[in-house]
C-alpha cells in the first residue's frame, strides 16, 4: 500500500487521465492484487488477428521441426508411418528422441519467456537470464554442490532432481542479490550492470572451483556449463514439464502487470499498480524459468537474449501474444539447434548451445538490420 499512496496524492494533477479519475476504475486497480485473475476472474487474453496468424504459423513450424526431430538421426524413422514399430524403433523414438525433444521444448520456452519477462521488467534490451547472471548463478550452484559432494561424500553423484534444486537455489540467490543491490534507488540499469558483474563473478568462481577440484569433476560440471540435451530422462522431464507449465501459465495470468512494466514506473503507479509486489512476483517467475532451463540442460546460450527481440519483430502486438510467441520461438530455436547438433557431425554430438548461437545470432542481426529501432 505504501506504493499506492503517492498515487492518490498525485490524483488531482493527473485528473486528465480517465482511468484514475474514475473512482470505480481506481478502486478496481488498487485492489488488483486482491483479486488476481486466477482467483476466479478467469483469464482473458487479447490476441489480435494479426498476432493469431503469426502465432499459428510459429506453432506450425514448431510442429514440423518437432516431427523432424523425431524422424532424423542415425536411424531414419518416419513417425507418421508407424504401423508396427520394431523394438529398436520404439526404443529410439520413445526412450531417446521423445525425452530429448520434450526437454528441448521446455528449456527453449522457459529461457525465452524468462528473457522476455526480464527485458520487460528492466526495460533494458540486453537483459536476459545469462546476462543478468541468473544462469551463471544456477551453474555456480550446481558446481558448488558437485564440489561439496566430492569433498564430503567421496564424489557420490547427486540425482538429477537434486541438481535441479541446486540450480533453482542459485538462480534465486543471484536474483535476490541483484534486487538487494538495486533496492535503494530502484535504478534498473544499475541492476542490469550489477547482473553483468555477478555473472562475471560466478564464472570466475566456477573456474576456481574446477581448478581446485580433483579434475574429474570438471568433466561432470562441464555439461552444466556448456548446455546439452543429451542427459534428458523421463523422470526429470516430468518435473521440469510440470514446473514449466505452471510458471508459464502464472506468467500469462500476470500479463497485465507485465504490460504495464513495459511503460514506466510512473505510469504504472498512476494506474494503481503496486509496483514492488508484482515486480517481486515477476522476477521470481523469471528466476524459476531460468532454473528449469539450467536444471534440464545446463547453460544454453543466447535463447533468452535473442528470441524476445526476434518475436518482437515478427509479432509486435500485445503482451499475451508476445508471451506465447516467445514460448514457441524459444522452443523452436532450441529444438532446431538440437536437430543440427545431433545430425550434422554424426557420430559426434555437439553441445546444443553452439547451434542456438549459430542460428539465433544471424537471424537476430538480420532482423535488427532490417527494421530501425525497436
Amino acid at each position: 500500500m505504501a506504493q499506492a499512496k503517492p498515487v492518490s496524492d498525485q490524483q488531482p494533477q493527473s485528473s486528465t487521465r480517465q482511468c484514475t479519475a474514475d473512482p470505480a476504475a481506481k478502486s478496481s486497480a488498487t485492489t488488483w492484487m486482491a483479486d488476481r485473475p486466477w482467483r476466479g476472474a478467469g483469464l482473458s487474453l487479447l490476441l489480435p488477428a494479426g498476432a493469431l496468424r503469426v502465432l499459428g504459423l510459429l506453432l506450425l513450424v514448431l510442429a514440423l521441426v518437432s516431427l523432424l526431430a523425431m524422424a532424423l538421426g542415425p536411424l531414419w524413422i518416419n513417425p507418421l508411418d508407424l504401423q508396427a514399430p520394431s523394438a529398436l524403433q520404439q526404443l529410439v523414438l520413445f526412450e531417446l528422441r521423445w525425452p530429448r525433444l520434450l526437454l528441448g521444448l521446455v528449456v527453449g520456452a522457459s529461457l525465452a519467456v524468462a528473457g522476455f519477462v526480464l527485458q520487460s521488467l528492466t526495460r533494458v534490451s540486453i537483459a536476459a537470464p545469462s546476462v543478468l547472471g541468473l544462469a551463471d548463478g544456477a551453474g555456480l550452484s550446481v558446481v558448488l554442490v558437485l564440489f561439496a559432494g566430492e569433498a564430503l561424500w567421496g564424489g557420490q553423484l547427486l540425482t538429477p532432481q537434486g541438481m535441479a534444486l541446486a540450480a533453482l537455489a542459485g538462480a534465486v540467490a543471484v536474483l535476490m542479490l541483484l534486487r538487494g543491490l538495486s533496492r535503494r534507488d530502484g535504478d534498473l540499469e544499475k541492476m542490469v550492470f550489477a547482473g553483468l558483474v555477478v555473472a562475471a563473478i560466478c564464472k570466475a568462481l566456477v573456474s576456481l572451483l574446477l581448478l581446485l577440484s580433483q579434475s574429474d569433476m570438471a568433466m561432470q560440471a562441464q555439461i552444466w556449463l556448456v548446455g546439452s540435451l543429451a542427459q534428458a530422462n523421463p523422470a526429470l522431464n516430468r518435473w521440469l514439464l510440470a514446473a514449466c507449465v505452471l510458471l508459464l501459465s502464472l506468467t500469462l495470468f500476470n500479463y497485465r502487470a507485465l504490460a504495464l512494466y513495459r511503460l514506466s514506473d510512473e505510469v504504472m503507479g498512476s494506474l494503481g499498480q503496486p509496483v514492488g509486489v508484482s515486480q517481486r512476483w515477476l522476477y521470481l517467475l523469471a528466476a524459476g524459468l531460468t532454473a528449469i532451463a539450467v536444471a534440464g540442460a545446463g547453460q544454453v546460450s543466447f535463447v533468452g537474449l535473442v528470441v524476445p527481440h526476434l518475436i518482437r519483430r515478427i509479432c509486435p502486438r500485445g503482451v499475451p501474444a508476445q508471451l506465447i510467441g516467445n514460448a514457441c520461438g524459444g522452443a523452436l530455436l532450441v529444438v532446431a539447434a538440437d536437430v543440427l547438433a545431433r545430425n550434422l557431425f554424426t557420430p559426434y554430438e555437439l553441445p546444443v548451445g553452439i547451434f542456438t548461437a549459430l542460428i539465433g545470432v544471424p537471424c537476430f542481426l538480420w532482423l535488427y538490420g532490417r527494421g530501425g529501432r525497436s
Binding site: 542415425p74 529410439v92 531417446l96 564424489g155 574429474d216 561432470q220 554424426t346 557420430p347 553441445p351
Partner: protein, 326 residues
C-alpha cells in the same frame, strides 16, 4: 502252459516298455536340457556378445580378453583410436566422444552390454540401462587392475580376466626386482597442459604403475590423490628426484603448450635441479602413461621400463617379457 508263457512274455514286454517309458524321459530330459543349455551357452557365448564400450579402459579390457566391441567411443585425442589399439579396432563403429556418446547410434547397434565409467557416463545411466545392461566403473583413472577385473566379470570372463591380469602382474614383479638392483628409484611425474602444469600423485594410472614397480615419490607426490593442478614454477624444487618424467597434453602437441613447456624448463630453479643436471629427465607418451588407462597400455608402458631406467637387457632377449605373447 503256452498261455502262461505268452502272458509272461507279454507281461515282461509290457514291463520293459513301462520301464523304457519311465527311464527314457529320465535319461532324455537331462540330455535335452544339457544340449539346449550348451546351445544357449554357445549362442550367448562371450565371443558373440555385442558390447559397446564408452571408455578407453573398457575397450582395452575387451581387446585384452580377445573380444572386440561392436561400438566404442573415440579415444580421447585419438583419431579415432589410439595407436596401440588401432590395429585391433578395425571395423569398430565410433559411437561419439567419451563425454558425449551418441545414444541413438549405440541403440542401433543393439548391444547386449554397455561398459564405461561413472565419471563420464553417470548422468546418462538411466537412458543407457534402457538400451542394454550397463556396467560402469567408478573412475577410469584410478584402480585400473580392479576396473579390468570388473569388466571381465561383467563379460562373464572372470577366470580369463584373472589369468590375463596375473601375466601383467608377473611382469611387474620381474621388473620390480630388476629395478631394486639399481640405486635410482625415486620418480617425479608431471604433465604440461595448455597453460598449466599438473603434478601427478599416487592415485593416477602412472602413479599406480610406478608404485607397483616399487618406485618411490618425492613427498608432495607421495599422496593418495590424483594430482595437483596449476603447479606453480615456485615449487619446482619439490620435483627433485632420481628421475623426472613428463607428459605433454594432446596428440597434436599444440604449439602453445610446447612454448609453455619450454618456458617452464628454462626456469633457473628447473636448471638447478640435480635430476636435470644429471640429464635424467624424460618425456613419456601421454596416451600410454596417462590417458589410455587400460591393461594394454599398461603392457606397453612396462615394455618401456628397461629403456627408461637404463636397465641391463640380456643379450638377444627382452627383460621380463611375458611367456605368453598376446
Amino acid at each position: 502252459m503256452n498261455a502262461l508263457r505268452l502272458s509272461l512274455k507279454l507281461l515282461s514286454h509290457w514291463l520293459t516298455l513301462r520301464l523304457l517309458a519311465l527311464v527314457l524321459p529320465i535319461l532324455l530330459v537331462p540330455i535335452l536340457v544339457l544340449s539346449l543349455s550348451v546351445a544357449a551357452y554357445a549362442s550367448e557365448d562371450a565371443t558373440a556378445l555385442r558390447v559397446v564400450t564408452l571408455s578407453n579402459d573398457s575397450t582395452e579390457a575387451l581387446l585384452a580378453l580377445g573380444l572386440k566391441p561392436v561400438g566404442a567411443t573415440r579415444s580421447l585425442n585419438g583419431q579415432p583410436w589410439y595407436p596401440h589399439i588401432a590395429a585391433q579396432m578395425q571395423g569398430v563403429t565410433v559411437v561419439g566422444l567419451e563425454n558425449a556418446p551418441n545414444l541413438e547410434l549405440i541403440a542401433s547397434l543393439q548391444p547386449d552390454l554397455i561398459l564405461g565409467s561413472r565419471q563420464q557416463s553417470a548422468r546418462l545411466r538411466a537412458t543407457l540401462e534402457r538400451i542394454a545392461p550397463t556396467v560402469l566403473v567408478r573412475d577410469s583413472r584410478k584402480g585400473w587392475q580392479q576396473n579390468f577385473l570388473l569388466f571381465a566379470r561383467a563379460l562373464g570372463q572372470e577366470q580369463a580376466g584373472i589369468k590375463r591380469l596375473a601375466q601383467v602382474q608377473a611382469r611387474i614383479q620381474c621388473l620390480k626386482q630388476a629395478l631394486q638392483q639399481q640405486p635410482l628409484r625415486q620418480v617425479s611425474v608431471l604433465r604440461f597442459n595448455p597453460g598449466q602444469v599438473r603434478l601427478y600423485q599416487l592415485d593416477s594410472f602412472s602413479g599406480e604403475l610406478f608404485a607397483a614397480l616399487g618406485l618411490t615419490r618425492p613427498a608432495s607426490q607421495n599422496v593418495h590423490a590424483y594430482g595437483v593442478n596449476n603447479f606453480s614454477s615456485e615449487r619446482i624444487a619439490e620435483l627433485e628426484a632420481d628421475w623426472l618424467f613428463y607428459f605433454t597434453y594432446g596428440a597434436r602437441r599444440q604449439q602453445s603448450t610446447l612454448l609453455y613447456r619450454e618456458a617452464f624448463m628454462s626456469d633457473p630453479a628447473w636448471q638447478q635441479l640435480s635430476v636435470v643436471r644429471h640429464n635424467r629427465v624424460q618425456s613419456l607418451d601421454d596416451v600410454i602413461w596417462n590417458t589410455a588407462n587400460g591393461i594394454l597400455a599398461a603392457g606397453v608402458a612396462l615394455d618401456q621400463i628397461p629403456q627408461l631406467f637404463s636397465l641391463a637387457v640380456p643379450e638377444g632377449g627382452a627383460l621380463c617379457r611375458s611367456s605368453v605373447k598376446d
